[in-house]
């Protein structure tokens, strides 16, 4: 379905899908074609803003992670971590190796849970021609039970380490207020190893799923770190070239307000760019561990991939990566032994940026603190917001290739495109 094969269809078409389903938050698809000419393409975001950046003013750095985890029910751990890293950067604090390992492990849990939720519960129903995962519980019980088992594993990693995945409790600036027992880590490791057959079965299932063959090359941004597939830390790397320290994210990530979306749009070297699993795969595929490489190969995902629908496939690859990373991280923690550490910090004024790769892409928190550690100004840049302009660019490219199809098919294809991005809309609006 590349641009080469487009046949001219002199058609009028108005698509208005209100509140696209099986995504997080509220977004509307609007397309208008007149006499075969694309007049309007919009992904409207009417989601109510919560104004987190304004609300944070006057609050202590110590509360910021508990406030900002509430930006997002799906990537609460990601927000908490970006917040902690921003505060630590502002205060000039370097968290211990143990703290970083524990955070990485919780991140793996969040990647597993969020990705499984997306490709099994939100995307798979389209491939199987049903409206939700609910009918699959009776037609494909083994698939649903496998999905629930994998999802629960991701949740339990975060639950054991942070109290719960949705709005983690024990993660604080420079440490943890609760530490896992070694027996808990050993049990988690066993469950992670036990999840590898579930992962293989997942790969097999999605080998048989055919996703639309649509290509549009764009700029891909992801954190990059030599020697690891970056989730927790790294510099900003662009597929168009250039590596920028995360602290200077404003040089790379430009935000603008558009009237039809309470989520701001972003651009970098071109009019739009993509973040998320596919962008990370394109930028960092060489850092993947064997399990994830095998998954990518089995699923036929090769870098660079310019098909946004394959973001879901890249999520399966990343689930493999997170499982293997979690096993290795637990080994590292068990070898070191878990110790109680002093997490006190010296409060001072400063400016700090925290950047992490959350399930949907790069997340930035930036705080300016006064001498008492109160937030004077805050900026949050959310993956889904960064993807909005790119999603619209994809919609503009795909609509002309669909004009010879019946309207419900066009609508479904556009909804599937939106879902492929796994948007977290309430998060993007914050």
């Amino acid at each position: 379905m590349s641009a080469m094969t487009v046949r001219p269809v002199n058609r009028d078409l108005t698509v208005g899908v209100p509140y696209v389903t099986r995504v997080e938050g509220h977004g509307n698809i609007k397309v208008r074609v007149q006499n075969g000419v694309l007049e309007e393409v919009k992904f409207e975001v009417p989601e109510s803003p919560r104004f987190f950046e304004a609300m944070l003013r006057g609050r202590s750095y110590a509360e910021a992670s508990h406030i900002t985890s509430r930006v997002c029910g799906i990537c609460a751990v990601g927000h908490a971590t970006a917040s902690l890293k921003a505060s630590e950067a502002a205060l000039g604090v370097q968290p211990s190796d143990q703290t970083v390992l524990l955070r990485k492990l919780i991140f793996d849990g969040e990647i597993i849970e969020s990705h499984v939720l997306h490709f099994y519960f939100l995307v798979a129903p389209d491939a199987l021609g049903v409206g939700s995962v609910i009918p699959l519980a009776s037609t494909h019980p083994d698939v649903v039970i496998r999905a629930l088992r994998l999802k629960k594993l991701g949740n339990d990693i975060a639950g054991i380490l942070a109290g719960r995945k949705i709005h983690p409790i024990s993660m604080v600036v420079n440490g943890f207020t609760h530490l896992p027992r070694e027996s808990e880590l050993k049990e988690l490791k066993q469950r992670l190893e036990g999840a590898i057959p579930d992962l293989r079965a997942t790969v097999e299932l999605f080998q048989s799923v055919s996703l639309p063959d649509f290509q549009r090359e764009t700029e891909y941004l992801a954190l990059h770190k030599p020697g690891e597939y970056a989730f927790y830390d790294g510099d900003i790397a662009s597929s168009d070239g250039g590596i920028t320290p995360a602290a200077q994210y404003r040089r790379v990530v430009k935000e603008k307000v558009v009237p039809h979306s309470t989520a701001k749009h972003c651009w970098s070297q071109r009019d739009s760019y993509m973040v998320g699993a596919l962008a990370r795969f394109n930028v960092n595929h060489q850092q993947l561990r064997p399990l994830a490489r095998q998954a990518a190969e089995a699923l036929g995902l090769r870098a660079p991939s310019y098909n946004p629908f394959l973001n879901s496939v890249a999520q399966i690859v990343e689930t493999a990566e997170a499982i293997e990373d979690a096993i290795e991280t637990i080994d590292a923690l068990l070898t070191r032994g878990i110790r109680v550490e002093d997490s006190r910090v010296q409060v001072k004024a400063g400016l700090g940026v925290g950047a992490v790769e959350v399930p949907r892409g790069t997340l930035y928190h930036e705080y300016e603190l006064d001498e008492k550690g109160r937030i004077v100004a805050a900026n949050l840049v959310i993956p889904t917001g960064q993807n909005m302009a790119n999603l619209e660019a994809d919609m503009r490219a795909i609509v002309p290739t669909l004009l010879d199809r019946p309207q419900p098919e066009i609508e479904l294809m556009l909804e599937m495109l939106v879902r492929a991005y796994d948007p977290c809309i309430s998060c993007s609006v914050h």
Binding site: Y19, T21, R22, E24, G25, H26, P46, S48, P49, R50, F51, E53, A54, M55, R57, G58, R59, E63, H66, I67, R70, V71, C72, G73, I74, A76, L117, F121, P125, G131, S132, V133, I134, A137, P141, V144, I145, L148, R149, K151, K152, N155, A162, G163, R164, K165, I166, H167, I169, S170, F176, T177, H178, V257, V258, P259, T262, K264, S426, C427
Partner: protein, 246 residues
């Protein structure tokens, strides 16, 4: 026949709905007892014939007021799901600022495109039959409430404070660790999860009925806390604001 349910969301993070999906061990059994007919986050069907509406999120725009009223009209039972729906939740932090300034802070020149009103709980707009407190909701409590609704009973909520559950969990007192805790006046039901993981109670479940306010104020004064400190602490989920004012 299984009662039909609708799950709806307003201003919030949708974490409480995700808590329902996080019932990995129970959700298949739950689906044998209730029939979701409208749940945008999880399914494409959009039925209007639900008896029970589970509603997440606070109300922060005029449009949301109308949408909530229309859900109320269709539902026999409306349940507020989580702190945002129940109390207004974290969204109410913005109510302490000038609303126009809040929009300008975030959208700058683009502020003119967007409208916001002070955040409020569902009960400020429509009749709410029951609330499941918490940020996020507790999964086990959610199941208890659904079970009660299915057998036509009033869903039970603990009438004692988080302190009780904290003592049962054998946690050291949060005040003794130099933190201010809302556990003495906050409704239990969460298993004192925050103190159990080394944090203080942040009051996300709202005030217990008949809190011991005098005793609580004495504890705060003893610790040398100023009114300003206390007010700021109580603002996080809005649940205990009345205490701060009293």
């Amino acid at each position: 026949m299984r009662p039909k349910i609708g799950v709806f969301d307003f201003t919030g993070c949708e974490g409480c709905e995700l808590q329902i999906l996080n019932l990995e061990d129970e959700i298949l059994d739950l689906l044998k007892l209730v029939e979701p007919v409208n749940w945008r986050e999880a399914m494409s069907e959009r039925g209007d014939d639900y008896q029970i509406a589970l509603v997440e999120g606070a109300i922060t725009t005029p449009h949301e007021i109308e949408r909530l009223k229309s859900i109320r009209e269709k539902a026999q039972i409306l349940v507020a799901l989580g702190a945002c729906a129940h109390l207004g939740g974290i969204n109410c932090l913005k109510n302490h600022f000038d609303q126009a300034d809040v929009v300008r802070q975030v959208y700058g020149e683009g502020a003119r495109y967007f409208e916001t009103i002070p955040a409020r709980p569902l009960s400020a707009v429509v009749k709410v039959d029951y609330a499941i407190p918490g940020c996020p909701i507790d999964k086990r409590e959610f199941l208890e409430v659904i079970k009660a609704l299915l057998i036509g009973k009033k869903p039970p909520l603990p009438s004692y404070a988080v302190c009780v559950e904290c003592k049962l969990a054998d946690n050291p007192c949060v005040f003794d660790q130099g933190m201010t805790c809302l556990g003495p006046v906050t409704r239990a039901g969460c298993g004192a999860i925050c103190p159990s993981y080394g944090n203080r109670c942040e009051g996300c479940r709202g005030l217990v009925e008949e809190p011991n306010l005098n005793g609580y104020r004495a504890v705060l004064t003893e610790r040398g806390l100023t009114t300003e400190d206390v007010l700021a602490q109580f603002r996080l989920f809005e649940g205990c604001l009345e205490v701060a004012k009293s």
